[in-house]
Assembly symmetry: C2
Homo-oligomer: 547 residues x 2
């Protein structure tokens, strides 16, 4: 449906830094649904009655506006008003000046030498020049807000997140002490408690802390598991015994980093084989645990991955839990990517048994689009974080004389960080905006897009669906044309890499790749709430056209 | 000098979300120097010639403005324009509506129950309501931008930082790979390189990585020291030997946390006695090292603190370096708080010998007011970060086939984090704005304020300067009146704590406290670039008035 164009737009005043526009409307007239680039738009209704429609990622909000009402359209939202009365009049203030161009996709990994020169810290710079450089930095950075950005496990920049980040910058403070951040402490506690509830842990069994990324949460899991089993290590240090950590072959590399940093050594990580669906094999796990015991090692922890990085597989938590119980091992769930399944009706089966976990990694900056990073380490062992992490020597900071650790309101005692930003606000705003159900719908909507895309891919002779996706990773191999595959067998195996680079070079899409025994394949990550099937179709059509 | 008031202000349009004001000026007329709360102000000069004066923390920028020119005053700056021509006219657009009230100081550690209720995530919320709640969150949070906030090792919210945070949120990306953040990777590299130069390390001997806070940098120091001495631990894990880490009695508690997490145990931390100035005693260090060797332990690292948390003492780096050389130990400098001394002419002696350090912790979010956190771990052992931290299992992410580690452009390989925000931008903007010299002046200006304050304190009979300050910590004991000290000896020892709570309760100041054998004392931290002697005088006058 073509938008009615019968409105009259008059520019009242205009400069590089703002724009004031008056619009006169006839009944039924409406602007097309548009975003304002990075411009903030304030609207005052001067005459008439309007319907205001705002799209916030997966959520649409409608309301009526009467003369005298005003509002600010948040940066990052899409917006439209429509005149319901015979005539209407509105005043629009853009700050900075509206950039009417649709933001182009920009994925260039290189950037202009002029900007490179401007990045040098060799001289002082006036603020207006600094602002210009900052604009270039923004323009030359990867447009991760585009639905065509599928390279990482996140995509999109939401209005809710921008709102949170603005206030966090203005209120610069630290979560270390309650005193310095009473409200943000309450917000982190609320998010931690609600996530615990979503996992299925009973009230009073929900503890956790914000950490600087999913890798840090996985570190904390190994650290807590070790502390629970060997509390004396806290003071005395490790005594030379060899630990074993069991993760699937598809698990995140952060367990390797954790093993190194925590003093266990990378050899402590045992990669357990997976089934055809990429899920850890419980029997294989059991026998690898037995084997490690026979070899004199100390099995410590099993991490079930909920949503592996490459294919989005979910390990069978209930089965793994039984094995952990048998051997008295800590069961961690790395749900950094797959955590949103906790909110989705469609993925209930995938994440079944999660309440049995001792701890869980949750990243809100991935699918839920919070600011990077917004991660949580959650555990049902209340007080363990405090016991494992609280140390002496901080009397200047933590003044509580309360000997009862769990009554301390200072989150810093549970953390490895001292000064810490209240990242939780950025997930809190999304949760508050969409509600618990809305978070689930955000996941389910992307699953529908996936289903459409998978159906379409299966009908393309030169596209090979590498795995039937359980989650929001589509692994698809682009096959070269017959001519191309005949000309060079090696390039045929790496054809998807070539395609990927071409898509990137032409600013058509930024997708990542991985490899199996048959060569490379594209990995499409569905994480942007504005993603439609048509975007995927366009990307893959362009991928097929690469020569 | 009283500002000339002969200008005429007309409100053109006004709503909750914006304000458009037209001002007509006579020659010499100027608004008083003011900040706009959290409102952005765009100005268009319509007629005449003006002088624009902008105060950005410690920096003042002046320029001439002619008819037709326009600019945006950044949030967080103070601003004034003055008419130079016979008459003048300007148009001002505020978004959101200007909050003309001077922002009140707000330090209430508790917050209203209505807001507490609104923090619950039990229902979905319309965006306009969410914005209102966010405003309450901001209003009820501690006003850390106030010069009367001296509670933490940071104070103030700068325009440069807000500019950086805005663009970081809009460009949401990760520093893990160069591909996902080409410009931000270059910016972090520039900051790391320039900090290395400031330390005095030669070109080619400057390596480092952004870390989530000073505590994380201290962790990394111990981790790197261990890896350098025992590279086999990376794969095999620790073998049971007992390490020792030597830090002064005034060192930060993060070494205790590091020792616990890294598997060394808190007993590995040896607190070396200090002299009357709070500086680690080299002879005591030497004999404690000898003792630990005699007891069969393995001395690993000495951390010299540059700016201790309570009194701001600087350990004698050159002397400690000689001892480290003798015993082949890693010398770390924890300059989380005192790092700005690297830029100050007045503090050259305090930080002397810093180039001898193997590594250094630098927090830009403290005195330099970058967003929290903006921290760096720096080392002159190029490649060690990569060798200590790069692991297998991340082929899906790091695609570089380059076997030469130091050529990898992906910063993620040096880090413990995977997804990582480009915090460096927030220090980069300040550095770019002030220049290297300007950063030094920012420190020296606060040192002058300190000197005035110390002089004044010494003349107050009921104020006891606990230490002669070397840096920007003023430790001052408030003595009770004779009547109060006679009435209760115990309360007399804790009088400063009582005073501190009263100042906080009355929203007069937020300062922290610590204790020595004579009881508690106030710790005033001078970190806000807008801090004047008069602020300290006011705080301490109010402290003396407490009954």
């Amino acid at each position: 449906m073509k938008p009615a164009e019968n409105y009259c737009r008059t520019i009242i005043a205009q400069s590089d830094s703002f724009e004031i526009v008056s619009i006169e409307w006839n009944k039924g007239a409406h602007a097309s649904l548009h975003e304002h680039g990075w411009s903030q738009c304030s609207v005052l209704i001067q005459e008439g009655l309007f319907e205001d429609r705002m799209e916030l990622g997966s959520k649409t909000e409608l309301r009526l506006l009467e003369a005298g009402q005003s509002f600010r359209t948040p940066v990052g939202a899409k917006h439209q008003i429509k005149c319901l009365s015979e005539t209407g009049k509105s005043l629009h203030v853009y700050s900075p000046k509206l950039n009417a161009e649709t933001p182009r996709l920009h994925f260039n990994a290189d950037f202009p030498p002029e900007l490179k020169k401007q990045l040098s810290l060799s001289d002082e710079t006036r603020f207006d020049h600094l602002s210009q450089i900052i604009n270039s930095i923004r323009d030359e950075s990867v447009t991760t807000r585009s639905p065509f950005f599928m390279n990482q496990l996140f995509s999109g920049v939401s209005a809710q997140m921008l709102l949170a980040e603005e206030v966090l910058a203005q209120c610069k403070t630290t979560l270390a002490t309650h005193e310095a951040s009473p409200v943000f402490t309450a917000i982190e506690n609320e998010v931690v408690d609600r996530l615990g509830a979503q996992i299925g842990w009973a009230a009073g069994k929900r503890d956790g802390v914000g950490v600087p990324g999913g890798s840090a949460a996985n570190f904390m899991a190994v650290h807590c598991a070790r502390h629970q089993k060997f509390p004396a290590f806290k003071t005395d240090g490790m005594d030379g015994q060899k630990f074993k950590l069991f993760v699937s072959e598809g698990a995140h590399y952060s367990f390797n980093k954790a093993a190194v940093a925590l003093g266990l050594g990378s050899k402590s990580v045992v990669n357990v084989p997976v089934d055809v669906n990429g899920r850890m094999l419980p029997l294989a796990l059991d026998s690898l645990i037995e084997k490690s015991i026979a070899e004199g090692a100390t099995p410590l922890l099993v991490s079930a991955t909920a949503g592996t990085t490459v294919r989005g597989a979910f390990d069978p938590i209930t089965d793994l839990s039984a094995i952990c119980k048998k051997h008295q091992l800590w069961l961690h769930v790395d749900a950094a990517w797959g955590g949103p399944a906790l909110f989705s009706k469609k993925l209930m089966d995938s994440i079944k048994g999660v309440a049995l976990a001792d701890s869980l990694t949750f990243d809100a900056h991935k699918l839920f689009g919070s600011s990077l990073t917004c991660s949580f380490f959650l555990t049902q062992h209340v007080n363990l974080l405090l016991e494992a992490n609280d140390v002496s020597g901080a009397d200047y900071l933590f003044h509580s004389d309360d000997q009862n650790l769990d009554l301390s309101p200072d989150l810093g005692k549970r953390s490895w960080q001292c000064g810490r930003k209240a990242d939780a606000l950025s997930f809190w705003t999304l949760w508050k905006s969409l509600g618990t159900q809305g978070l689930g719908q955000m996941v389910d909507q992307l699953l529908s897009v996936r289903d459409q895309a998978v159906h379409w891919i299966k009908n393309q002779p030169r596209l090979e669906l590498v795995y039937d996706p359980e989650y929001l990773n589509i692994c698809v191999r682009v096959l070269p044309t017959l001519w191309e595959s005949n000309s060079n067998e090696n390039s045929s195996k790496n054809w998807s890499i070539y395609v990927r680079e071409e898509l990137k070079r032409k600013n058509l899409a930024m997708v990542n790749y991985a490899s199996d025994e048959n060569g490379a394949f594209l990995r499409l990550i569905l994480a942007n709430p504005e993603l439609k099937f048509e975007h995927i179709q366009e990307i893959l059509t362009n991928a097929l056209a690469v020569r």
